[in-house]
Homo-oligomer: 282 residues x 2
Amino acid sequence: MLIDSKNFSIEYHSRSGYGTFHRIDKRIYSKQSEYQKIDIFENTSFGRIFTLDDVIMTRESDEFIYHEMLVHVPMVLHPNPEKILIIGGGDGGTSREVLKHSCVKQVTLCEIDEEVIKAAKTYLPFTSCEFDNPKLDIVIEDGAKFVKKFHDYFDIILIDSTDPTESQASQLFTEDFYLSCLEALKKDGILSAETEDPFIHKEWMRNAYKRIHSVFSNAYLYTAYIPQYAPGCWSFTLAFKTLGNTEPEKQDHEILTKTRYYNHKIHKACFALPQFINTLIE
Amino acid sequence: MLIDSKNFSIEYHSRSGYGTFHRIDKRIYSKQSEYQKIDIFENTSFGRIFTLDDVIMTRESDEFIYHEMLVHVPMVLHPNPEKILIIGGGDGGTSREVLKHSCVKQVTLCEIDEEVIKAAKTYLPFTSCEFDNPKLDIVIEDGAKFVKKFHDYFDIILIDSTDPTESQASQLFTEDFYLSCLEALKKDGILSAETEDPFIHKEWMRNAYKRIHSVFSNAYLYTAYIPQYAPGCWSFTLAFKTLGNTEPEKQDHEILTKTRYYNHKIHKACFALPQFINTLIE
């Protein structure tokens, strides 16, 4: 058997000697931007798949899980989230989920790579569907620099970054960046960040959680099944600027009629960590 | 980039046009048995990996998750599990976990393929470590036939099968087989079965759950992160012969000091299903 990059999109985690592949049934888009190689293709079973440097970012069939879990866990815990900042998230899925909350007044999506926004707008309508929403501002800028402009301003900050490899995204995993986020949040503000996986990138996960927790004393790791991201288990870190806990107050939140993964039981369950993860982040 | 089966073990789910691969750092064992192709190889990051017909069964680094979750969820819910039947499970991981419970008096492991037992004994010591335990009987027989010999006998039956493809394992996903299990269980007996994944094998999962539930009126689906099985989310079905619920009585169960994934919070959380899974099994 032979898996070649002519017929398949191959995501190879060479350090682990492990990877995943998807059959390319139709090539849709390919471009080398200033920052990364952007590809979009179609697979009959999973729909459109968007990769950056051959790593899957968005898979049409199940992107809803990642986006719902990054967004709704913090949104439901905030009493009145009106001003939201998204760092990264150029496919639009995170802003789509944020805008499902009627209380939201202003969403700022800060994406470093304009080519990602353009490609998403044209070829990923299922995630970019709110790009024309008047509540949404799209800013093309380095998120680590952008967030430094704000003080006591946002209710929620969502960090929807790529992996902390040598790329620009590594800036989004530093204590300095998390400190800027703390500054940019209002007193009752909440941060939620994707913090990698506990198997093949466990050091990245541990470091991200530890750094956030060193800046935000009130922080919690949570997990979800994210099959689009190998190895299928993914972590997020939730952090409160001041007080706050992981239990939602409202049992009849409007979002519950608009989700495909998130529900109240999942909200509670996602904070239950397996023993080996407890040990990893001790 | 080229992934070839000389240097990599490739698990291709061709119907989905999707798969995973592991670099083969050292080949350990390969044999075509009467039933299937058995391979064991080593990968530096994940340890020894055991495949049947090129589908991963056991990965040294994280097999503990599957085995703990198949075994401890039902074991903890039974007041006094003494006689245990394992159908399949030739690598030994399930029997290893069962034998961590000091109340267990007799474990019967019924595996159809003797070559799997032999290979596991020699090359997978981390799972087969209890093969010489005097409480364990290994029977080489078709599990679907074997279970029909018993009536009102076992406290727990664990179905640790391969996928329900055209292979022998498809017998272990029929209503007839589940009825035999019901018969073989004592009045307060519990069954737990691996029931595939809700993404690439969602029809298999749905069918398995529905069939078990049609035989056992008191049945519950639960899930765990199983990164060794693509796509990383796996389901099990727990079923009580008569009464019973998913809440453990004891908060200080002996098993809690012996696990790496399972804990009380995970026990509760594993029954919280995402919305799309609730819909799938409605």
